[in-house]
């Protein structure tokens, strides 16, 4: 393989725009074409794992309860936004936006596991499945005869990924869990937010991070297992991801610190224990004082980084505090806790009569790294993210024009892509059952009448 002369001769920026061109995504091959994933999952953790595989082109079948579907469909901020219809049987109900982001590109099958016919269907699917994602309480599927042990016997090439709260073994195995419990119990809250002395409390990370991130490392492990199966061993796998474990992986340096020194890491607000100056400053003015939206009336915030000596000097000069540069000439002088408490309020005074954009411009003009704190509207409006396809407007087959997140990463030859954001409950019943189980039209109608699907 050699690159064409045209590609070699262009500027680097043009080269990137050319090979990562999001408009060309659908003319390139998909990584997981021909890989089938069955996802019997709810909420975010399990669904997101299957969704990441679906973005890469796997044929992903999401199995949920008939009628109402999974609980996340009824989860939406302040009970306001919904996408209609919930299903062809319930056109006047909608799916809440909690379902967003964790279910793109999937096929939707509805199935009531409490009926024996449904278990038969699951067994038929499992025999033809490469990856099986599941997040029922550990052992439930095993009891129903459709767990890892049974699937691996029928289809030894299956990769069975269980995801859930505390895992199937150990003292906490019977405890229920959610993302926020993983964050709380795992220690994430304890280091986020302002210290008590500054009026802060332990704080939540606003996203369902232990879910979405847990799904991501599970998906990574699934692809690695496919790699091992197809290139090395021919064998499937049983994988377990426990939600409360995610926090320990993220906080591993704080754990090491505790083990060595007994120090229990605390909150340090919008500053940075490792570097100074490398923090978020309050600016005194709102960028949109006349807006009716309280989110926009708020004063702005801007991040600035100037931890290197020469950058710190530039910053002090800009804000008119040359004496700080003299008092704290080296990084080890600045980064100490006392010094940080003295430095940040002084620099913050500079922004007291400015908007975040004015502060941003002043900092970048001085050659410093800076970034205003953007809200979701400001991010939505960035050409940058739309150009790169990480935020995109799509013409969804069911819901029409929808703005959605795209795949996080860019691949030049086999890019991931978004085909649709999700579909109504049971939208693909006929397609899946006739294709994979060989059921006739009247058989499917009968299953529907008996409320099995």
């Amino acid at each position: 393989m050699t690159l064409s002369k045209a590609l070699k001769d262009m500027t680097f920026e043009d080269f990137c725009r050319s090979v990562f061109n999001t408009k060309e995504r659908f003319s390139k091959p998909e990584v997981l074409k021909g890989v089938r994933v069955v996802s019997t999952t709810q909420y975010i953790l399990g669904p997101s794992c299957a969704a990441y595989l679906a973005e890469l082109g796997a044929e992903t079948i999401k199995v949920e309860l008939p009628k109402r579907g999974e609980p996340m469909r009824h989860t939406t901020p302040f009970n306001e936004p919904f996408l209609y219809p919930l299903s062809r049987w319930m056109p006047d109900k909608g799916t809440g936006l909690g379902f967003f982001g964790a279910n793109p590109n999937e096929y939707f099958l509805s199935l009531d596991f409490h009926k024996p016919e449904a278990i038969q269907i699951m067994k038929r699917l499992a025999a033809k499945t490469d990856v099986f994602c599941e997040n029922y309480r550990a052992g439930t599927f095993d009891r129903w005869g459709i767990g890892a042990r049974q699937h691996l016997k029928v289809n030894p090439r299956t990769i069975y990924q269980w995801m859930g709260g505390f895992g199937g073994w150990g003292p906490g195995r019977n405890r229920a869990s959610y993302d926020i419990l993983g964050q709380a119990q795992g220690g994430c809250f304890s280091i986020t937010g302002w210290p008590k002395e500054y009026g802060g409390l332990p704080g939540k990370q606003t996203i369902w991070i232990m879910d979405y991130w847990g799904g991501a490392i599970s998906a990574f492990n699934c692809i690695a297992s496919l790699f091992w199966r197809d290139n090395v061993s021919g064998k499937g796998n049983f994988l377990e991801y426990s939600q409360v474990h995610g926090a320990q992986r993220h906080l591993t340096d704080f754990i090491a610190l505790y083990g060595k020194t007994g120090v229990v890491a605390q909150r340090w607000g919008n500053w940075e224990p490792l570097l100074c100056v490398h923090g978020i400053l309050k600016c005194g003015k709102s960028s949109y004082p006349n807006s009716k939206n309280p989110q926009e009336q708020e004063v702005g915030y801007c991040f600035v980084s100037a931890y290197k000596d020469e950058d710190f000097k530039k910053l002090c000069k800009l804000v008119g505090k040359d004496e700080l540069a003299k008092k704290y000439p080296t990084h080890s002088d600045r980064v100490a806790a006392d010094a940080q408490m003295a430095i940040y309020p002084e620099i913050e005074k500079f922004g007291a009569d400015k908007t975040k954009e004015q502060v941003w411009k002043a900092f970048t003009d001085a050659g410093l790294v800076a970034q205003p704190v953007w809200n979701s509207k400001e991010v939505s409006e960035q050409e940058h993210f739309h150009l790169r396809g990480t935020i995109q407007w799509i013409d969804d087959p069911t819901f029409g024009d929808v703005q959605t997140q795209g795949p996080a990463y860019q691949l030049s030859e086999t890019p991931a892509r978004i085909r649709w954001v999700f579909k109504p409950v049971g939208a693909d019943n006929e397609y899946i059952l006739s294709k994979l189980c060989g059921y006739s039209g009247s058989h499917i109608a009968e299953l529907e009448a008996k409320e099995i699907i």
């Binding site: 939406t76 150990g170 340096d253 083990g259 940058h384 703005q403 086999t414």
Partner: protein, 475 residues
Amino acid sequence: MGDTWRTEKKRPTIKVLPWPAIPTPTVDEVYAGVDEKKKEYSLWVESAVRQQFNADKPESLDGIRILDCTANQQIGHWCSSHFSELGAEVIMVEPPGGDPMRTRTPFGREEYMFTAKSGEKCGARFLAEARNKFSITLDLEKEEGRALLKKIISQVDILIENAAPGHFDKLGIGYRQLSEINPGLVYLWVGERGQWGPLKDQPGAMDPVGQASMGFVHGTGAPVSFGGTPTRSGWWLADQVGGTFAAMGTMAALYAREKFLGKGQFVECTAAEGVIRIIDYNWGWHGMDSSIRPRYGNWDLAINIYAVNPCKDGQIMVGGGHDRLWFRIWRACGKAKPYLEQHICEDPKLRVVTDRLPHYIQVETYTTLVEWMKDLTRYECETALQEEEVASGGVSFLDEVCEFPHYKYRGHIEIVDDLNYGKVLIGASGFIGMNTPGRIKWIGRTVGQDNEDIFRRLAGLDREGLASLKKGGVI
């Protein structure tokens, strides 16, 4: 700020407890009193995935070689950890003198750093992501350094870099040039916002640039009316999320190479875009009706009850928005204070799940709930709620996390007894599995510790060659 504030000069001495301070529960203790049939599945899973059997099992990425050329940023190191935990040979390529990240330690305190046998010190943040990796030094700004990279690149599967956009390309070691030498190479660039596009990275940008530029900081923390401000995550969340997506994209490229493509490709992933992918419904919601996601503190915009609220000795999480759990929570609460259960359960406004989401209802819910929790400790709340099988748990601090029996039993926290750094307590690999579990074999290397081994092995350098490179400051 008061007298309680500890200053640099007035810091307490801390007694370091051995870990675990409280012994880890045994198998018999964990399953005491559980009937055979019920514990059968647990014991099967346990025997299938217990980490003590890891060493006997194969690794899924054994034989894959990765050069991690990133420096002064977390995202690349976090990404390559995924591969090193699953058995790939990850070689950190540091500038001579070492990655500046090695010197980063909270508040600059040297006593928080880890000391290798050689006496060299290393900060915890760097060391935590040096697991199972080798370390070489190579100055890619020098012609000889680049020549050496080109010499060994044919033997490499994945290269990761985070230099300023286009910098490696200008130096002649970018994707365009290296893929000519090794068409199978998967070349990954990582950064905060991108190497192309209007917001492309400024040199030196690192987390929390990612967090601030994609809406995370604006959305985290309490609303203004509750006395809150936009808040960054206490750790480098965007880098770590972005690093995982970078690993996913790279793994996909590797899989495609072996399966059908027959060649490598150019991969890019950034911290900001990793979190954009997972920040719930922000973009859909804004697209529908121009809504801007507000901060909502430790409550949730879309689920009620699903929150962390104060109790007697700290804060506690309680979750259960759907009817089954909703009523169980109030039953637990009603055992001690029946009037609270009555107040909630008899309110017609609160009967339907979705009707419970508006803000004023959430205020009512949590005010009532805290009325019950305010006199109870985290442990008492947890116990009462778990009797009803409700998801709940106290906000734990790091010492409590390290001593939590479940984590200790499952090996989520472990001591790595390292050749260089001695015994280090660490969060274990996230990859738990039956056939190919992730594992931590060593914690890290000193700067350039593997120079001789790697350059002899991959570049065929002899002692004279090594000496001259060292003299020239190339390695």
